[in-house]
Symmetry: C2
Subunit: 281 residues, 2 copies
């Protein structure tokens, strides 16, 4: 495994791989790797000759009052995990090489990037689309891997790739959860013991929604009401949104029918948690 | 020479070229080809194994009240000129294949895209950056060729390529002019005989500016004043801007020193003409 900081060095290495006809799988991450990330790396390992993991806490996807500075970082452990999981390259660029002074080009996926998390994080998905465009161009990967936990991100990346004719396959992988159901997130490290219990209610509300739907309930308001009741049991919780949307267009639905994404975002203490489930009804 | 409408067909053809190790030069155009375009094609022919000319009147770079509908088109003559100039591929996509329903991803070069022509055409450069990103991704060209006449466009494309780590070389080629100095443009076809005379004053004003600078004048206001006087002799002319800017950052300058772009835009009757000169003082 080779750890690389420089864009040009990574490009040169991957160009040599390409010239040998080797396929490249990219796992873009912000580091502090957990089992969710590792599931993406494992999938990339199965599908490709060469696996590249990028570790970059991307400033452009954080709002001015968000947690860029305190976002957890542990480069040493991350490198060990990448090594254990047979990555070929770990790319750890510096902020000032990715965004040199005067940087001013951004990629925006309109509409899809402005709903759900985009409402409370208005520049978030522009930052995500921009950094991914850069990483796709730098690596020329054949495939890139994303967790279904960031459902909106996955849909936006797929749309961007299609709209801009990028030659890369986007692969979504299932949410990985703790045994008790909490969706893995690097931000879980922020949670106190009590907050963690409140965080569990996100999953509980999704399980309840699924139960209701399996039992024949189709009315979104009715299901939302029950979900709200569950999440609001958390003393530290403030609901940002509970939304039922079309799984492709992210347009809100009032009836559960076809491919529906149930997505929730909850502020638990100082930590913003998201979770979701996809229903095929 | 092969004329192709379909994105997938062009991609398949060019992929085969790439696999043979052939280099690809792209000349992106909106058609109605004149000697300016042909100079780009000739340069691309010299530099590359394969020359691709795209002909696409790109709707996203026209404002709602602009001339998208009446923009001159002559596919037959364009194809003949491409053939004569030994192009390998001409790409003539349909609007609904380039921008299918629901298209929503845009590339924006902030700041550079908002000054000069960007002030009176606020979405123009976003449309340019977006279509070029698509064409670069579709063709995977090694080099792309642009006329210096659209100086701001050239600077913006270079910035976009750098910021987004696109693996393509952007090559600017000198302005091609009629014998009397009028910079070639597909839009010149809109001009009446009288308007054409007014259009000539753009070049005359640039020549005068150059003379003044060669004579030692460095004060921008003084030079602008003379240029204004010349252009305003045109009875059908309304100046949009006369700007002296840094040739890289497009920031306005008050003294002529270093690399300076003198750029002008004038509404002549219903036709918007642009011209420019680069000074190294």
């Amino acid at each position: 495994m080779i750890a690389i900081n420089s864009i040009d060095e990574l490009k040169a290495n991957l160009k040599a791989c390409k010239e040998k006809g080797l396929s490249i799988g990219l796992v873009p991450t912000m580091g502090y790797l957990h089992e969710g990330h590792l599931s993406l790396i494992k999938k990339a390992r199965e599908d490709n000759d060469i696996v590249v993991v990028s570790i970059f806490v991307n400033p452009t996807q954080f709002g001015p009052k968000e947690d860029f500075d305190q976002y957890p970082r542990d480069r040493q452990k991350d490198l060990e995990k990448c090594e254990e999981n047979q990555c070929d390259y770990v790319f750890l660029p510096q902020v000032n090489e990715m965004y040199p002074e005067g940087f001013s080009t951004y990629v925006e996926v309109e509409k899809l990037g402005q709903v759900l998390c985009g409402e409370s994080r208005p520049t978030h998905f522009e930052g995500v689309a921009t950094i991914l465009t850069k990483l796709f161009n730098i690596t020329k990967a054949d495939r890139a891997y994303f967790g279904q936990k960031d459902a909106q991100q996955l849909i936006i990346v797929q749309k961007m790739v299609k709209d801009l004719n990028m030659d890369i396959e986007i692969i979504g992988c299932p949410i990985v959860r703790e045994k008790d159901g909490l969706a893995l997130s690097s931000r879980n490290t922020y949670l106190s013991e009590e907050e963690r219990k409140d965080g569990l209610l996100l999953y509980e509300s999704l399980v309840r929604a699924k139960e209701l739907i399996d039992g024949g309930e189709r009315n979104v308001s009715t299901i939302k009401q029950e979900m709200k009741g569950i999440i609001n049991r958390g003393k530290n919780s403030e609901i940002d949104y509970i939304e039922f949307v079309n799984g492709k267009t992210l347009a809100p639905v009032s009836e559960v029918s076809g491919n529906v994404l149930i997505a929730i975002a909850v502020q638990v203490g100082n930590t913003r948690l998201i979770d979701n489930v996809i229903i095929d009804a």
